[in-house]
Symmetry: none
DNA sequence: TATGAATGAGGATTCATTCAT
DNA sequence: CATGAATGAATCCTCATTCAT
C-alpha cells in the first residue's frame, strides 16, 4: 500500500475517533511511524488530506450510486441503496461532526460537497417518483418534493444528530440502521396499502439488523 | 451594560460570524477594546464563556417554553412556538455549527444540552397529542412518536444543515422560516381535512415571512 | 486586629503551606475576603509583604535573644534558646524553602538577613565560650569557631534540608526537635565528662518531645 | 554538539546564573538563538529540561562514585571523593538554591533525589567505618551515625547556605573548598592522634586550594 | 521518497499592579 | 480604608509547515 494512501487511511481513522480539530498532522505521522516531512511530501497541507478523504468519499459514492433509472427501483434496490448511503456516511463520519467548519475553510470542498448532495437529491427523487408511479406512494408533486427534501435532510444530518444525543456517543452500525428506520418511518404513513406492505418488510429487515448489532 | 455581559454578547456575535474554533479569547477582548486580562477576570477560561452563552440560551428557552398544557395548544400557539424555537436557534447558531465537537469537550454542557433536548421532545409530543385529540391528526401511537422524533431532528439539525447547503451560506431569518415550513410540510400529509386547513394557514403565514425577508 | 497585620499573617500561613512562589497576592486577598486593591493599599507590592514578614521574624528574634552574657549561660538557658530558635524558624519556614531566591531579589532583605545571622553567630559563640570556661567543653579557639560555624549552618539549614528528605515532607515540631538533637549530637563528642552529662540530659529532654509529638 | 544537549547546557548555565524560577523557556531559546518551538521539539516542557539536567547530575554522580569498598578508603581517596562531590554540586548549584520548591513540583525528581542522597549516605558511612577500623577515628556506633548524618547535611546544604551568606554571593571554587574544610573541621576533633595527622594534611591541601583561587 | 530538526506566529492563561469610585 | 474592574507584559506551550540532508 502506498504511503499516500496509508496517510489518508490513518487520518480518516484518527479523525473519526477523536475529531478532526483534535488531530494534528504530527499525530497522523506518528501513528504511521513516518516523519512529518514525509507526510508533507505527499500532501501540501492538512486541508489537502481532508480534501483527499472527501475525494475518496465522493468516488465511493459515485461508483455505488450510478443515478438509478426509474425502472430499476424496487424495494430491494432501495434497501441496498439506503444501506450503502449510511454505511458510507459512517465510514466518513468525522466529516459530519464538523461539516460547517470544514466547508467554510475550503470553498472547493464546499463545491464538491454540494455536487454530492445534488446527486443524493436526484437519487432520492428518482426513487420517490418510481414509488409513486409504481403505486406505492400517493402524493402530489409539491408533497413529493417536500418528502425528498426531508429524507435528504435526515440522511445528511443523522450522524451529527446522533452524536449529540448521548454523552460520549459512539456511532455504531446499529445507530446507522436506526437512521434508515427513521427514514422509513417518514415514508410509511404516506404509502398506499401496497406500499405499506413493502415498507413494513424493509423495516422488519432493519429491526433485525439493529437487534443483531446491539 | 456590565462587562461580563458585553463579553458574552461579543463572543456570541463573533462565534456566529466566524465559528467558535476560529475566534480566540484575544479576538473577543480586542473586539471589545478590553485587555485579555480583563476578559479572564470575568471568565476562568474560554470554555466558561461558551458555557455562559449556553446557560443564557437554556434560560431563554425555559422562560419562553413553559411546558405547554394540551388544552393551550392551538395553531396560533404552535406558530408562536415554532417561531421562537427557530429564532432562538438562530441567535445561538454558532453552537449548531460545531455541536459534536463542543459537546465532546465539555461533559457538563452535554448534560445541559440533553436536558434542553428532552424539553423540546416533551413539547413536541404535547403538541402532537393535542393535535390528535383535537382531530387534526390521525395517527397511531408509534407513528406519532416517530413523527415527533422526526420533527425534533429537523428542528435540531436545520441550521447546521442549511449552513452546508450553499457556499458561504448566511443563515437569515428567511432560512429560519423555511425550516418551519419544512416541518409543516412533514406534518401536512398526515393531517385530517380540518388539520390540513390549519396547516395551510400556517404555511401561508410563513411563506409571507419568507418573501418579506428575501 | 488591623488589616495590615491580618495580611501579614495570612501571607505567612499560605506561604508556609504552599510555598511563596505558588501564592499570588490575589490568593492572599481572597483568603482574607478582602479586595486586591485593599491589599495594595497596605503594601506597595508583594515584596513588601515578604519584607514585613521578615521584619516580624527579626523582631521576634531580637526580643527573645538579647545577646546573652556569658555568666547567664546554663544548660537550661541553652535549652530555652535552642527551642526558641527552631520554633521561630518553624513559624517562618516558607522563608527557608526559598532563601537564595528570596534574598537575591531583595538586597535590603539580604542585609537584614545577614544581621540576623550575625546575631545568631554571636549567641552561639557566647554559649560555646561559656561552656568552655565552665569546663563543659575542651577545645582550642580554632576548633571552637569551627564548631560554632557548624552549629550555625545546621541551625540555618535544618528546615530546608528536612523538607527535601521525604516526598511531601511536612515540617512538624518533631522534625524541629530532631534538629536540636542533631546539634547536640555534634557537641556531645567534644564535651568533658561533666559536659557530657549535661548534654545527655538535654538530649533526653528532646527525645521525650519528639516521642510526644510523633 | 546536539541541540538537545546544547539546551541542557544553556539551561544549566542560565539557571545557575539567575535562578531557575527567573529563567523562562523563551530565555533559554533566545540564548541559544533557536526558536521556542525547537526547544519544545526536544523537550515536552520546562520540567523535562530540569529533569534531564538532574539525570545528567545523577549520572555524573554514579560514574564517579562507585560505592567504595572499605579497603580502598584512604585519605587520598577521600580527598578525591570530597573534591568531586562538591565540584558536582557546584556544577548543578541552581538546583540547591530552590531544592524544596523544585522537588515539591516533581515527585519523580524527589524520588531520584532521595536515591542520590541515599548513595551519599552509604558512601559517607563506608568511609567513616573504614576510618574507624583503620584506627583514625574512635567513636561508638551511634556517634558514628550521627557524624555521618551531620556530614551529609553539611555537604547537601553547603552551597545553598553559602549563597545566603553574602549579598550577591557568587559560589566560586574557593567556596567549595571551604565546604570541604568545614567537613574536615567537623571530623578532626573526633580523630585519634594518627587520624588527626591525616586530617591536617588534607586541610593543608585545601587551604592551598582556597588561597590559589582567591 | 523520506528524515527530523527547525520555525514562528499565535494560542490560552497568569498575575503583580493600578486606579476610578 | 476599601472595592473590584481593568491592565498588559509575560508565560508556557502548540502546530501547521519548511527545508537541508
Amino acid at each position: 500500500m502506498k504511503t499516500r494512501d496509508r496517510i489518508i487511511l490513518a487520518a480518516l481513522e484518527l479523525f473519526n475517533e477523536s475529531g478532526e480539530p483534535n488531530i494534528t498532522t504530527n499525530h497522523i505521522a506518528a501513528h504511521l511511524g513516518i516523519s512529518p516531512g514525509n507526510l508533507y511530501y505527499h500532501f501540501r497541507n492538512k486541508e489537502e488530506i481532508i480534501h483527499s478523504i472527501f475525494d475518496q468519499y465522493a468516488h465511493d459514492l459515485s461508483i455505488r450510486f450510478q443515478p438509478l433509472e426509474e425502472t430499476q427501483i424496487t424495494a430491494d434496490n432501495l434497501l441496498v441503496y439506503l444501506d450503502a448511503v449510511f454505511m458510507l456516511m459512517w465510514r466518513y463520519r468525522f466529516f459530519y461532526a464538523n461539516l460547517p467548519d470544514i466547508l467554510r475553510r475550503d470553498p472547493e470542498l464546499q463545491e464538491k460537497y454540494l455536487q454530492a448532495q445534488e446527486g443524493l437529491h436526484q437519487n432520492i427523487m428518482a426513487m420517490m417518483n418510481s414509488f409513486r408511479s409504481g403505486g406505492l406512494l400517493e402524493l402530489e408533486d409539491a408533497d413529493l418534493l417536500s418528502l425528498a427534501n426531508t429524507l435528504k435532510l435526515v440522511a445528511s444530518s443523522w450522524i451529527c444528530y446522533q452524536t449529540t444525543q448521548a454523552p460520549g456517543a459512539k456511532i455504531t452500525k446499529a445507530v446507522i440502521y436506526q437512521g434508515v428506520l427513521q427514514m422509513l418511518g417518514i415514508v410509511r404513513p404516506l404509502t398506499t396499502a401496497i406500499g405499506k406492505e413493502q415498507v413494513l418488510q424493509l423495516e422488519a429487515h432493519y429491526c433485525e439488523q439493529v437487534e443483531r448489532d446491539v
